[in-house]
């Protein structure tokens, strides 16, 4: 629900409450005024009656419509009191509340008890009138609120929506030019835009330096490794080294290679995380997979692994070719590396689902940890434990579904593109 809709609903609700309370208050105020007028009216009639009694005293009892005069046997003190009563209305033919005045007046030494009642406006007429006018006003208000809401979102909130669009399209790796927000004549929007402008620039420059740092860290590591590597080779080329010494140097060399690969893999993971692969094109998945398997053919044969593949010809996806190649390389490499001598590999690409299964030692870690960095089943193995983490990262990058299961001696990784 957007901002304007929320505010409108809140406003409609609050105004409903206000109208209800206002209605009750109006009704009470009106009733008070009507009552007051009614009392005045009855008092005036009472005065009139007094004057009439002066001229023509009543002998015993006199009664007209809404009026009754009783002559009292003895002298009584004057008093006036109002009360509510219910009287049959002669036109409406139903009981209606009336205001009643009971008074005692002494005229020419004779006390009369006078009772008067009357009605000017019935309360339900007032109520009906009030309800009708309030409902009409409320409907007009609703209409006005909807129109204002519509105008607000399309005119007043326009700069805000433009800003939102700009933020939505903001990319860390995007063009280097600054993000420019529209000027608006609303102070708050300008403050927001100013803040966003500063923030996006800050984020970009921070990101840039972080990126440079992780890349540089990787490069800076490779240079000393290259020096060590070259010196070791010079050393090995010497004439008088024993077999054992040569073997020790070989171990150092392979450790250097691992360190270098590790640093490269970490730099790669950072790059994927930083979304630096945006060179999207149509990738012929079937063709690429066949090509990859061909490249690995020798390794598969050298390990006497039986290969079983079924690839449909038509699988195509939109992605960065480099990443997809990397993903397939890592998957196939993984299936070969963790396989038995003389094991099996099954590759199945069917439409948008890729399944790679291989025989191999059962995992010592839970299957769901397989895609985490540095998680490897055999801690002493020479693999880095980053291959599948990279695969997972690429799948996350493109929202591909990836899963692992171990069934019937086969490790199976399936990816749904």
């Amino acid at each position: 629900m957007n901002l304007i809709a929320r505010i409108t609903i809140l406003f409609v609700f609050v105004s409903l409450v206000v109208f209800l309370i206002g209605g009750v208050i109006s009704f009470n105020v009106m009733m008070r005024e009507v009552n007051f007028e009614q009392r005045r009216f009855l008092i005036e009639r009472l005065d009139g009656l007094e004057k009439r009694l002066e001229r023509r005293p009543v002998k015993d009892t006199a009664s007209w419509t809404k009026l009754k005069i009783i002559r009292m046997p003895e002298l009584m003190e004057d008093r006036t009191s109002f009360s509510d009563t219910v009287v049959m209305h002669n036109q409406l033919d139903r009981l209606e509340p009336h205001l009643r005045l009971d008074a005692v007046r002494t005229v020419d030494g004779v006390s009369y008890q006078i009772s008067l009642y009357d009605i000017i406006i019935e309360p339900d007429d007032i109520r009906d009138g009030l309800v009708e006018s309030l409902v009409t006003m409320y409907l007009i208000l609703l209409g006005a609120v909807l129109i204002i809401g519509f105008m607000a979102s399309y005119f007043i909130l326009r700069p805000f929506n433009v800003t939102l669009d700009i933020i939505k399209n903001f990319s860390l790796t995007g063009s280097n030019q600054q993000v420019v927000f529209q000027k608006s004549n609303v102070i708050e929007f300008n403050r927001l835009n100013h803040f966003l402008e500063e923030m996006t620039n800050k984020v970009r420059s921070d990101y840039q330096s972080l990126k440079e740092f992780s890349e540089n860290a990787s490069h800076e590591l490779q240079t000393p490794l290259a020096i060590v590597q070259s010196k070791l080779e010079v050393l090995m080329d010497g004439e008088n080294l024993t077999e054992e010494q040569l073997e020790q140097i070989s171990f150092v060399q392979s450790a250097i290679k691992r360190l270098s690969n590790l640093s490269n893999a970490l730099a790669l993971l950072t790059k994927i995380e930083n979304r630096e692969f945006e060179n999207v094109s149509e990738v012929d998945l079937s063709g690429l997979l066949s090509k990859m398997l061909e490249e690995f053919k020798e390794l598969i044969e050298l390990k006497s692994i039986e290969r079983d593949e079924s690839i449909t010809e038509t699988a195509k996806i939109q992605a960065d070719q480099v990443l997809i190649e990397l993903m397939l390389t890592n998957l196939i490499n993984n299936a070969i590396r963790h396989n038995w001598e003389g094991g099996k590999i099954k590759v199945d690409l069917n439409g948008s689902e890729l399944t790679i299964s291989n025989t191999g030692q059962e995992l010592t870690i839970p299957g769901d940890q397989l895609f985490e960095r540095f998680k490897k089943s055999n801690q002493s193995s020479h693999s880095m434990g980053l291959g599948l983490a990279i695969v997972k990262k690429i799948c996350d990058y493109y929202d591909y579904e990836i899963g692992y299961e171990y069934k019937d001696d086969f490790h199976t990784i399936h990816i749904r593109f």
């Binding site: 890349e215 020096i227 590597q229 070259s230 090995m236 040569l246 070989s250 390794l299 390990k303």
Partner: protein, 225 residues
């Protein structure tokens, strides 16, 4: 082969220079782009070994300048950046090869040689070691003028040995040369052994001598005793 190495890491530069000097190649070193251009204007080189990260400029823009002025010189980039786009950009700008650091000196030597021979226009493009002769154009191998049948990997292996003759080639360097980074398991060493065994057999069957010597604990060496 005359090489110019543009590399600001003194320790690495000296190792590379010594390696090539032992081969009988001339390898000169420049530690900055300014010195490199100075040398390029004064002398002529067959192959330039270029580090992309120099103190006085971005390697890729330097490469552009070099390719504009010295078109017939081969360029091998040696870079600490294993970034794919750098590699693509380098090759696009006219570099012949791209070798990420750290590398085996034997690998650098093989790459520089390949670039050098590919660019050499005159005469037959062959490499030979005593009675063994490799034709670089059609990958044909002759032993005592008799053609022998090698698989692609065996040819690559033999080529690697001939280019780096009299040098110790570690099993790791050979595995990386043949299979690149795919192969970093210990298994690969057995595969290297199998390939060498097959190659040795094929050469000896054609009447060649066994030049592939095993250096225990380290690797192999091609030499004539």
């Amino acid at each position: 082969m005359k090489l110019l190495l543009v590399e600001d890491q003194e320790e690495l530069a000296s190792s590379i220079r010594n390696y090539f000097s032992k081969e009988g190649d001339v390898c000169e070193v420049a530690d900055s782009f300014a010195k490199a251009t100075e040398k390029l204007y004064a002398f002529s080189y067959d192959v330039l070994l270029l580090d992309l990260m120099l103190p006085d400029g971005d390697g890729l823009s330097l490469l552009r300048v070099i390719k504009e002025n010295w078109t017939d010189m081969g360029v091998v980039i040696i870079s600490a950046k294993n970034a794919l786009n750098d590699k693509l950009k380098g090759l696009e700008l006219g570099a012949d090869d791209y070798l990420p650091k750290p590398f085996h000196l034997a690998e650098l030597n093989a790459r520089a040689n390949a670039v050098y021979r590919r660019r050499k226009q005159d005469g037959k493009r062959t490499l030979s070691f005593n009675e063994i002769e490799l034709n670089l154009d059609n990958h044909e191998v002759m032993v005592n003028d008799k053609s022998i049948e090698l698989t692609r990997k065996e040819y690559e292996l033999l080529h690697y040995f001939v280019v780096n003759q009299n040098r110790l080639l570690t099993k790791q360097a050979i595995a990386e040369h043949l299979w690149g980074d795919y192969m970093d398991t210990m298994d690969s060493f057995d595969f290297v052994y199998q390939h060498i065994k097959n190659l040795r057999k094929k050469i000896m069957e054609a009447g060649g001598k066994d030049y592939l010597k095993t250096v225990y604990g380290a690797g192999y060496k091609m030499k004539d005793e």
